[in-house]
Symmetry: C2
Subunit: 428 residues, 2 copies
C-alpha cells in the first residue's frame, strides 16, 4: 500500500498546528511506520489571515469545515475545532455521510453525541477515532480498547484535568487559597474560556464518560456522570487531609456494581503515597483495573500542543496502516444501556466540622454518627484560639445514604458551627 | 467477519493456562470485542499427564509444538514454551512457513532471533507479535509501536525485572543484605531456574533490546546491550544513596546519541521522589520519551499468570480484529544497523569509597578527581569507629572515560581501602 493517506485539517489552533508540525517534521519517519505517505490536502480555520506557527503553503484552503469534510481528495477529516455542536459536529457528520474517516480531539462533542456519531460512522463503514480527546498524550483509549481487550474491566480512575490538579497541587504545596491558586492558573493561561469546564469538573467528566463506554461496553452516558468541581475545597481540607496521610484530587471513578454503572468526577482523598496522590501539577494519570492484568497506571501530559498532536497522529498512523477498531471497542449499536447507580459503592469518608468547645459536644456528634451506622476509624481535634475547634473524622466504609443521614443529623445539633464537610476517600 | 479465529496453544505452564482461562471465562466478551469468536483448536505441552489449572477437554492434543504449528485448523500459534532455541523456535518457524500468525511471550528467543524471525514472518505475510514478552501486563509494545507512532523517540527507560526490584526494595525497606534478599526472593519462587537471568540483568536486557528496535527503528541487537546485574549492590550503597535522596534500581536505558545507539541494563541511581524511585516490589515501570508527547510513564505487573496472559490475549484480539502492524513497527528488513555506542552520554555518578582517616587523605582523592576533569557536586563523610571512613561523592555530569580514569587513579593512591564503587545516576 503506497497510496498516500490524504488529510483535511479542520481547525488550526494549538492542536491543529501541532499536528501539521509533526507531519511536516516527520514525514519520512511516519511513512516508514505507516507503510505509506501521509499528506495534507486541505485545511480550514475561522481566520485565514492569522499568523500561525506552521507553514500552510501547498495546502488548499477551504471556507468551511463541512466543505473540507466532503472533498473528494480527503480520506480522513481531522476535526480539531472543538465545541459540542456547531461546525465541528456538522463537519464530522458530513465526513461520515461522505464516507471519510474521522479523527477528533473533541471530548465535549463525543460525550454528548458520541453514541449516535459512532453508530452512524459504523453503519457507513468509516472510522471515528478520538485518542486525543482523553488525557492528551497518554494513549489511554488505545490501552483500554486494545491493550486490555482480554480483561473484564473492574474500575477506571483518572486525574484527567491538569488545571484542577495544578490548582490543588499549589494549594497543597504553596499553601495558597483556592482563589489564589485559581488566579495563578488563570494568569498562566491554563483555564478554558469558560473556567467552569475545568474547575467544575465538566471537561474531566466528558473524558470519564468516554472511557466508561469502552471499559464496560456501556452506551456513552455523560448525563449519568455525577460531576462535582473543586471550588468548595478549602485550604483547611488540604492541610488536614494531608495530616491524615491523604491528598485531595479531582478524581474520576467509573465502576460496575450489582446496582449498575457508577460514574463520578469529584474531589476525592487518595493516599499521599499512592501514584495518584503523588501526581503533581498539570500531569494526568489514568488507573485501569482489569480482572487479569490487575492495575495498570498511565501517566503523562494531559494537554498542550505536542502531547495532544501526538495522540491525533497515532490515530492517523493507525488509519494509514489499515487498523480498524470500533470507536468504543465493540460495535456502537451493541453498547448496553446500563442503569445508573449513584455512588452505590461504599467508601470511607473524611468529615470536617467546627465543633463548639464545651462538654458533651464531641459525644453528641459521635452519637449522631453512631445512630446513622457510620463508624469512626480515626478522629483528630486541632488546637484553636476560637470558640470552636476543627475536628476531623475518618470513617470506616459506609454507604452514601448513611453518611448523608449522619451529616444532616450533625448539622441540626447545636454543637457545630456551619456545615460539616465530607469528602469521599477512594481506595487506590 | 464471523469466522472463528482458531488458536493452537503450545505450552501449558503459567502463561498458557492463564490464556486458556481467559478464553474460557470471557468467550462472549472477547467475541463482542473482536467481532468474531476466538477458539482453541489444539494444545500441546511436554507432559500430558500433569494436572493443570484449566480444563483441556474439547481441545486436540498434539505431540509436538511444530506439529501443532503446522495444523490446517490453526490460524494462530501461541508460543508459550520459552527458551532461546529448541522447540519454541522450531514451532515458530513452522508456523511462519505454514502461513500461520504467531503470538509469543518469549523475550529470550526474540532478543536473539527476533530480527530474522520478523523478516521471515513479514516475507511470508504473517504476523509475529510479542506484547507479553516485555513488562508482562503493561501494553508497552503497543504503546510504543502504535500509541507513540507520531514521535521521534528520545529515550526508553524501564524497570523490567520484578525480581530484581523486589530484592532492591527489600534491601532498602527492611535493611536486608543482598544475600538475604536474594534468598527471600528464591523462597517465594520469584527466581528463574537460572537466577542469573534475573539478577544478572539478562532477562531485562532482552526486553530492552526489543523496545529499542521499535523505538529507534534499529535492528534487534541484544549483544549491543551493556548488561550488569545487581549482585555487587551492597546495603551501604542502598543506605548512602538513600541518604543523598536516591534509590537504586536495575534500570534499562536506551537512547540515540550522535555516536550511535546506547543500550544499558544496569544498576542506576534515580531520584527517590521520581516515579521510578518510588516503584516498589515486583512492579514494572517503563518510561517513554517522545519529541512531541514528552514523558509517558506506564506501570503495572511485570509477571504472573494473569498479567502475562492479558498481554497475550490482547495480541490475539488484535489479530481477530484484522489489525496488522509490522513486528517492530516498520518492516523488519528496513530496520537500520545503528552503531553501538557504549555509555556515550554523560551522567552524574555516585562514588563510594573507604577513606583512611589521616590528614591529606581527602585532598588526595579530590585531587585525582580534579585531574581527571571530574567535578564534585556533593560529598559526605560518615562517622566511623574504624581506621577508614565511608566517603560518598556525587559528581557533576562527566563522561564514562573520565570517570574511569579517576577511579583507577583513586585506587592507586595509598589513602583508600579496597576499590571505589561507582554507580551512574540517571536523570529521569
Amino acid at each position: 500500500m503506497t497510496t498516500p493517506l490524504r488529510l483535511g485539517v479542520a481547525g488550526l489552533g494549538t492542536v491543529g498546528s501541532g499536528v501539521i508540525g509533526i507531519l511536516q517534521r516527520h514525514g519520512d519517519l511516519l511513512a516508514a511506520r505507516a507503510g505509506r505517505p501521509i499528506e495534507i490536502t486541505a485545511v480550514c480555520a475561522r481566520d485565514r489571515a492569522r499568523d500561525r506557527a506552521v507553514r500552510l503553503e501547498g495546502y488548499e484552503w477551504e471556507e468551511s469545515p463541512a466543505a473540507l469534510a466532503g472533498r473528494d481528495d480527503v480520506d480522513v477529516l481531522l476535526e480539531l475545532i472543538g465545541g459540542v455542536d456547531g461546525p465541528a459536529k456538522a463537519a464530522v457528520e458530513t465526513a461520515i455521510s461522505s464516507g471519510r474517516d474521522v479523527v477528533t480531539a473533541n471530548k465535549a462533542m463525543l460525550a454528548h453525541h458520541g453514541q449516535i456519531l459512532a453508530e452512524t460512522a459504523e453503519a457507513a463503514g468509516v472510522a471515528l477515532r478520538f485518542e486525543a480527546a482523553v488525557a492528551g498524550g497518554i494513549p489511554v483509549v488505545k490501552t483500554l480498547t486494545e491493550g486490555l481487550a482480554g480483561n473484564r474491566v473492574i474500575r477506571v480512575m483518572g486525574v484527567m484535568n491538569g488545571t484542577c490538579n495544578y490548582i490543588l497541587t499549589r494549594m497543597q504545596g504553596a499553601g495558597l487559597t483556592y482563589e489564589e491558586a485559581f488566579s495563578e492558573a488563570d494568569g498562566l493561561g491554563y483555564l478554558e474560556a469558560d473556567p467552569n469546564l475545568d474547575v467544575g469538573g465538566i471537561d474531566a467528566g466528558h473524558k470519564l464518560a468516554l472511557l466508561s463506554a469502552i471499559a464496560f461496553g456501556a452506551r456513552v452516558d455523560f448525563d449519568g456522570v455525577e460531576v462535582e468541581g473543586i471550588s468548595r475545597i478549602t485550604i483547611e481540607d488540604i492541610r488536614q487531609s494531608a495530616d491524615m496521610g491523604f491528598r485531595i484530587k479531582l478524581l474520576g471513578v467509573a465502576r460496575i456494581t450489582e446496582r449498575g454503572l457508577e460514574q463520578r468526577m469529584s474531589p476525592c482523598l487518595v493516599p499521599a503515597d499512592s501514584p495518584l496522590g503523588q501526581l503533581e501539577d498539570g500531569t494526568n494519570m489514568v488507573v485501569l483495573e482489569g480482572d487479569s492484568v490487575g492495575q495498570i497506571v498511565l501517566r503523562g501530559a494531559g494537554a498542550g500542543s505536542g502531547p495532544t498532536a501526538s495522540a491525533v497522529v497515532s490515530d492517523i498512523v493507525d488509519l494509514a496502516r489499515g487498523v480498524r477498531v470500533p470507536t468504543f471497542g465493540r460495535p456502537a449499536n451493541s453498547l448496553k444501556k446500563i442503569p445508573r447507580s449513584k455512588s452505590a459503592s461504599t467508601a470511607r469518608y473524611y468529615v470536617r466540622m467546627q465543633l463548639q468547645d464545651r462538654p458533651g459536644a464531641l459525644a453528641k456528634v459521635a452519637g449522631v454518627l453512631g445512630d446513622a451506622s457510620v463508624s469512626i476509624d480515626r478522629m483528630r481535634q486541632y488546637r484553636h484560639d476560637t470558640a470552636t475547634a476543627p475536628v476531623i473524622f475518618v470513617t470506616h466504609r459506609t454507604n452514601q445514604e448513611d453518611l448523608e443521614t449522619a451529616l444532616s443529623g450533625i448539622e441540626t445539633t447545636d454543637v457545630i458551627e456551619g456545615k460539616p464537610v465530607a469528602i469521599r476517600i477512594e481506595e487506590v
